[in-house]
Amino acid sequence: MIKVDSGQEWTFDKLNEIYAEIETIAKEKYDLNVYPNHLEVISSEQMLDAYSAVGLPIFYSHWTFGEQFIRELEAYRRGRMGLAYEIVINSSPCIAYLMEENTMMMQTLVIAHASFGHNTFFKNNYLFKQWTDAEGIIDYLKYAKKYIRKCEDRYGVNEVEAVLDAAHSLQVYGVDKYRRPSRISAATEEKNRKDRDAYVQQNLNVLWSTIPKGDTDVADVEEHFPSEPQENILYFIEKNAPRLDEWKREVIRIVRKISQYFHPQRQLQLMNEGCATFFHYKIMHDLYDKGIMTDGAMMEFLHSHTGVVKQPDFNHPHFSGINPYALGWAMYKDIERISMEPTEEDIAWFHNQDWVGNGDYIKNIKWAIENFKDESFIQQFLSPKIIRDFKLFNVRDDEDDPKLEVTGIHNTKGYKNIRDALAKQYNIGYKVPDIQVYDVDKWGDRSMTLRHYMVDGKPLDRESTVDTLRYISFLWGYDVKIDSVDENDEIRVGYQNYDQDTALDIFLEDN
């Protein structure tokens, strides 16, 4: 039987053997449903390359990836950062990178963590299922790279870069939050693109036609365009910008499609990392129980695991927010505990829900993986015990109050406050400003007005807003402005893309 010892070198044979062992455990003990696995052994240099293109194996060229690469390289050289153990790609087959420098123990850990932990999450979570076309992504990236390369050849690198810059700055606003995207595939993409070009142009002609259609149309001037605010700004520009070359529309579409792929990821970090960590911890222990991991290897594993799930306190120099590995792992472990041996407190807190104390933690954890995202996961599963273990506390910062106020701590009075505030913290709609296309002056100067729906009175950052407006204006072809409106639909602040000095900047007095 294979043995994994501390500091041991890996070989391809051993990788195959340990993979088989892990697979047996994953299937038989945890009944994990996963995509087929591809394990790719790469060098540390290749790992750095992979880092810089948001972890994707194929990507078009852009200067921001170069910057990212240089940053990673510098940090790595200074020894400030060890390379991440793994990169795993949400695709089918599920691609995981194994760095050649890793010890055998580390490769074992990566296979457990990535190829089973992340993989099962990718395959089963409802958001990934809805949003991410795991079979199509690699093909689509190939298509995107090829298309952008072609544009660079034809229109010049600078031209293409300008469009990419602008589109990237809006990529978070390239997603239909409530509509399920269609499947993507490179083969049909090329064919569809041509049909699309023709259709868009026809549509544009109608849209921007200034020829009066008759008396009945007079009322049009009063009508809003778009008739309902549009949250997918990139989509709106792609379909409606009056003077955009076809290829630019396609580039915008590519950025949009790739952004869509990442959309679930932004809402699932806590759950995803927690899931991978939970299962690697389980599997490593199972391997130890089977006598495959030696004591030394187990020590090596625990050392590395402890580092990953460390949560520095808020006032610690290393503090940089809540560590998703730490909180995520703790919560899955907690689900296991509550499933098996709930306390009085748990039963009261969870109102005696079905799963509490039902004795089948694997079923419960799978249910969590399948049906929740970070925000709702916390709402559903954060227990008082975790709040106490992490000593969580909530501080309210109200601009009208000269002081900050502690509104909840890890005690009976504070649990609910903290759970709700933490869930909100993971709500992407709360983190990212809600901005939508509100109006286009169709009959006048064709300027576009965006609307920022303020939440809790939080204003936009002035500088980045004006810069972003310039990018939008570049794509739209005409002026763009944005109004921040409060809960009562009253405009509080406005910015325009042109000439910062004269930017509309009205602070209405509260009355």
Partner: protein, 436 residues
């Protein structure tokens, strides 16, 4: 369920090269500024020799903007871990602007401050950026094209030449050919005679005395002929004069790839710390530039007041002496050094003189004479830089006379530096691409 393990290590590295180049292009202005900072602060040796150049550029503007909430305003709740002694309802004074109290929210992910971004350029990237749009003066390029340096290269064989260049293998091959050529007709003859002789000797008597006698005569004749042919074959020389082949060498011009720079600085009392500092920076640029263009660069430091002296770098910049100023002494010394150590055929010679422009009035004529007749004819380029915080061009002792030299020679350039910020522009001016 299936799995595959693939070894990708053989795949290309450096996938990020294109992206890296695009980034550098993007931040060209910032990188250019940073490169200038390095020049200003660094030591000559470090800059010329070190492999990577660490530079810092402002982090601002590097990130792509997107919509985001401002740091404050409105109402916001933040849950953090590790409570020590806060209680519900506690009121905490708002931390100072940018204070750590709100902790880590916008903190840099990678531990590098947002306001500065430092990274290394390779030596090539560094020099490319730094010397972009600069080139060696036309004069020098012409000189390279004229090809002053020659190299002997093998160029086949010749029938005459020095004994020392005798190519034995080739000569023996020639000899063998000749021998085969000369021998074969004779050998054919010999074979024919021998065959006939054998036939005659083996033949039975014809019982015809007349015929028998004829045969006997023929045999004698043949034996004689055979002996002659054998002698002739033996006489063919093993090695003849005409076989000898010699290695042939040809003179091939090679472009000169080494340069020597003469740094000449006035260290008389009138040159203060500021002037020396300017001089140092200028020499540094000059050196870098030469390294960029030539494989090998020598430097000769000449300092002078009333007498000129060749010194090492440290002494050149640091030791103090006082006295009047005789510029021609330095130029004379430069000329001597060139004659002694740097033959014009193999060296590109650059002169770079930095001075505050003071000179003994009587020496101006000498200086012009040496520069014009001795130095310039040997040099590729001579740059004169006047450093002075107050004077404008043309007010110093040397400026006028030097200007007259410049008027007669395309190899000379001169400029004045009034301020530290002018060093780089002046340098660029001296070496900028010229329209032909």
């Amino acid at each position: 369920m299936s799995h595959i393990i693939i070894d990708r290590r053989k795949n290309s590295k450096g996938k990020s090269t294109t992206n890296r180049q695009r980034f550098l292009k993007r931040v060209k202005q910032q990188v250019n500024d940073a490169v200038k900072d390095v020049i200003r602060d660094g030591k000559i040796g470090d800059i010329v020799n070190s492999k990577d150049k660490k530079i810092k550029i402002p982090g601002k503007g590097l990130n792509q903007p997107t919509f985001g909430h401002s740091k404050d305003g409105g109402v916001r709740d933040t849950v953090r871990p590790g409570n020590k002694d806060f209680n519900q309802g506690d009121r905490i004074p708002r931390p100072e602007e940018g204070g750590g109290g709100t902790g880590g929210k916008k903190g840099s992910k990678d531990g590098i401050g947002e306001d500065e971004f430092s990274f290394s350029l390779t030596k090539e990237e560094f020099l490319d950026l730094f010397f972009e749009d600069l080139e060696l003066p036309d004069m020098i390029k012409k000189n390279i094209a004229k090809l002053d340096e020659w190299e002997m290269q093998r160029a086949g064989f010749s029938v005459d030449g020095n004994q020392s260049r005798l190519n034995i293998k080739q000569s023996m091959r020639q000899a063998r050919g000749r021998k085969i050529g000369l021998r074969s007709p004779k050998k054919r003859k010999l074979k024919k005679y021998e065959a006939e002789l054998k036939l005659l000797k083996d033949s039975v008597t014809t019982y015809d005395e007349e015929k028998d006698a004829e045969i006997t005569t023929r045999i004698a004749e043949l034996e004689k002929l055979i002996a002659t042919v054998k002698r002739q074959i033996k006489a063919i020389p093993f090695l003849d004069d005409m076989d000898l082949r010699y290695n042939r060498w040809e003179k091939v011009p090679i472009p000169t790839t080494q340069a020597v720079m003469f740094g000449i600085m006035d260290v008389s009392a009138s040159m203060g710390e500021w002037e020396k500092e300017m001089a140092k920076r200028f020499f540094m640029l000059m050196l870098l530039f030469l390294h960029y263009n030539y494989e090998r660069v020598d430097i000769v430091w000449i300092r002078h007041h009333m007498q000129a002296k060749e010194v090492d770098e440290d002494e050149f910049f640091h030791s103090k002496e006082t006295g009047g100023t005789i510029v021609s002494s330095a130029l004379e010394l430069m000329h001597e050094v060139i004659k002694d150590r740097y033959p014009v055929e193999s060296w590109n010679i650059f002169g770079c003189q930095i001075s505050d422009g003071d000179n003994w009035y009587e020496d101006n004529v000498n200086a012009v004479e040496v520069l014009q007749n001795k130095i310039l004819p040997l040099s590729q380029y001579f740059a004169y830089v006047e450093v002075d915080q107050r004077r404008a061009a043309g007010e110093s002792d040397l400026w006028g006379p030097y200007e007259s030299v410049k008027a007669n020679s395309k190899k000379m350039e001169m400029s004045i530096v009034n301020d530290v910020t002018e060093i780089y522009p002046v340098f660029r001016k001296l070496f900028e691409k010229r329209e032909v």
